[in-house]
Amino acid sequence: MDVKIKSMKHEDFKHNEYIDKLVEELNATGANVVVGNFDKLINWGISNSLWPLCFGTSCCAIEFMSLGAARYDMARFGFEVARNSPRQADYIMVQGTIVHRMAPVLRRLYEQLAEPKYVIACGGCAVSGGPFKNSYCVVPGVEKILPVDVFIPGCPPRPEAMFYGLMQLQRKIKVQKFFGGVNRKEKIDEFFAKHPSEKGQIG
């Protein structure tokens, strides 16, 4: 299975071995032709219609606004329908530092997203805590509390970097299986089994 993103050559993705591994894993289990084609259609739909949840905590949010503005115009990819209600959004792009007080809120927002849902950690702070890593109340990377799909480094990342990250997410979605098979849902469940909250499932 080859994963194509328009106007981005496969070679440009090649250094990202993660997705190639994912493809192998999926190919190993095999898929029915009908189901496989449905999968392709649905994945095409999902990957081309990623509606972000507006969730900006600091500087990266301003760059995200630039991403939506006329010069970068994320509408070209169909990303522009930014929803403010998590129920209607497809992915949460964590833009900025997550601190202790914010962590449960972020987790709740993630729980409120409707499946299929994705997480992008955008910017140094969301990836690892960034310059505030050693602080007493900063979460060192959102992967501590959420299963992250794509990391975008930078402080803040340039809009081009955000596009690259979003395209990586598109590519990742294109290899997932919607009907049965190796599903990402299992991985999410695994993640939450490892990172439980005290009361169990929130929401």
């Binding site: 530092t97 202790h100 962590a103």
Partner: protein, 543 residues
């Protein structure tokens, strides 16, 4: 300065004085409140602005340093030190009844140091969760992460508050209170909300659509920059200022650099000074453009937002060419700037100066000239001049209430004293005035840029600084005019290569303090426009 000394020693015999960057008055706790009252109300002193409240931990005692400014005495600044030795139950009299701005400031000090303020109406934590263990900025704070693990459970909506009231005999008693009553219909706005400009949270009790009271819940992006700074060397703490108010990155960093340079007695080359001023003004333009865009967006005029961003990109291009980044530029360094100007700099600035007047006209046509926008902004969010002074609302928001508070005029720094520009003042006291002040300030910034762009002197961009920067023991306070108001940096050094205490006095912190005052009585929809017109940046509040 010496006059103040005499008057103060007459009022309070126990006060001791020490000269430094500013006059420091040390008073024992029991005499503090009467002195504060005199400082505010005595016509010869008349310190009507409380510029900064800095909590301190001197190991043997805990305390607070207050920075006071007198607008009537040529913006003279003095500082007052109040300390208590009791580490278990430290208590200091609150001055929130005199200066309203102290309300949130003292809550911050309580949050960081556990100092309880007597007669403060609402003694809750400000940045950290109520279940947080310890007071993080105390020197003996236990930073063990197991003590305060990452919480994954929702915070309870705590309506309970406490107030430490002193009775006639001088006995202090804890009096529990409620933020909202049983019958209040409380609407939660934020922390994830499109119009709070970040992760601010307001709890508003509403009557139909009319807002009755707004409770500000902050700390959703509190990163503990002040504590982190204590563990780093001076060049290392510089980058935090870019990430606090990211829309005033240059000004904030300029302030911190100036404070350190003042302590070192360093002379900054003129070329660097001019470059710094130009960058500050470019930053101001970029910030006000963003503010324009966000105000328009919050009012639902999405197209205007795109127009604002179109011009903002031009400013960002200039930054990118010279500083190497669109945001978080990290450009000012101790002694000057890190890199010389890009060869295109002058050409780009000229181009910007050509475009801006036309663009401003267009904004007015597209957005603020519109009858709907005027109706939404005019006579909304009334903030009188007295309140602006009392709450220390500086910057465009204060000037929209006709308070002349421009730090570039009052305490000129860098080359501002040689420049010809106006301080924009409007007397509408409403959201529309605040908005218009911003638009006019863009014109003034363009004027400053036009004066400087062809007169950048040749020379060094950076003064020689020692390899390891150590500040002499002492304390310094420096203010600049950031995009949103007066930004202050307080540094206390004990002679080491890292500071003993760094405090950032951010303008947005005060802005959010007037939300309750300005929003009460208006509609929920107005809460959004008032917030947009005050234009606070949340990471600047939370730090």
């Amino acid at each position: 300065m010496s006059d103040f000394k005499e008057i103060i020693s007459k009022i309070c015999s126990s006060a001791t004085f020490s000269e430094g960057d500013t006059l420091l008055v040390t008073v024992p706790e029991k005499d503090w409140f009467p002195l504060a009252k005199a400082l505010k109300e005595n016509k010869d002193l008349d310190f009507d602005v409380l510029s900064a409240v800095v909590g301190m931990d001197w190991k043997d005692e805990l305390g607070v340093i207050y920075y006071l400014t007198s607008t009537s005495h040529d913006w003279a600044v003095i500082s007052v030190k109040v300390a208590v030795a009791d580490r278990k139950e430290p208590m200091i009299h609150s001055v929130s009844s005199l200066w309203k701005v102290a309300n949130f400031q003292e809550r911050e000090v309580y949050d960081f140091y556990g100092i309880k303020f007597i007669n403060h109406p609402d003694m809750r934590r400000f940045f950290l969760r109520n279940d947080w263990k310890g007071y993080p900025l105390r020197k003996d704070y236990d930073a063990n992460p197991d003590l305060n693990p990452i919480p994954l459970d929702d915070e309870k909506n705590e309506d309970d508050t406490v107030s430490y009231v002193e009775d006639a005999k001088g006995k202090v008693k804890a009096v529990p209170g409620k933020v909202f009553g049983e019958d209040d219909y409380v609407v939660n706005i934020g922390p994830q909300h499109p119009s709070t400009h970040g992760v601010m949270r307001f709890r508003a009790s509403v009557d139909g659509e009319t807002v009755r009271k707004v409770d500000v819940v902050s700390g959703y992006i509190h990163r503990g920059i002040e504590k982190l700074s204590e563990g780093l060397t001076y060049p290392q703490i510089l980058h935090f200022t870019d990430r606090m108010d990211y829309m005033s990155a240059h000004q904030n960093r300029h302030c911190l650099c100036m404070c350190i340079e003042k302590a070192l007695g360093l002379e900054v080359p003129r070329r660097a000074q001019v470059i710094r001023v130009m960058m500050d003004e470019l930053m101001r333009i970029s910030s006000h453009l963003l503010s324009f865009g966000c105000t328009a967006m919050d009012l639902g005029a999405t197209t205007a937002f795109f127009y604002g961003f179109r011009e903002r990109e031009m400013v960002l291009d200039i930054f990118e060419k010279t500083c190497g980044a669109r945001m978080s530029m990290n450009y000012n360094v101790i002694g000057g700037v890190i890199a010389d100007l890009h060869p295109d700099f002058r050409k780009d600035v000229h181009h910007l100066l050509e475009v801006m007047p036309k663009a401003l006209k267009e904004y007015h046509t597209v957005f603020s000239g519109n009858i709907i926008a005027m109706n939404r902004l005019k006579k909304v969010g009334y903030l009188s001049k007295e309140d602006a002074v009392n709450y220390d609302i500086t910057g465009p928001s204060g000037r929209g209430s006709n308070w002349s508070c421009d730090c570039r005029k009052k305490h000129p720094y860098a080359v501002y004293s040689e420049l010809d520009f106006d301080e924009v003042l409007l007397d509408g006291c409403d959201s529309y005035s605040r908005y218009m002040v911003r638009m006019r300030e863009i014109e003034q910034s363009c004027r400053i840029l036009a004066q400087l762009v062809d007169n950048i002197p040749e020379g060094d961009i950076r003064a020689q600084v020692p390899k390891i920067i150590k500040l002499p023991a002492g304390r310094w306070y420096q203010q600049v005019e950031a995009s949103r108001g007066t930004f202050g940096v307080y540094i206390e050094s004990d002679g080491q290569k890292n500071p003993y205490r760094v405090h950032f006095q951010s303008p947005c912190f005060n802005l959010v303090g007037v939300m309750d005052l300005t929003c009460s009585g208006y509609m929920i929809a107005d809460l959004i426009t008032i917030g947009a017109a005050l234009d606070f940046v949340i990471p600047d509040i939370d730090r």
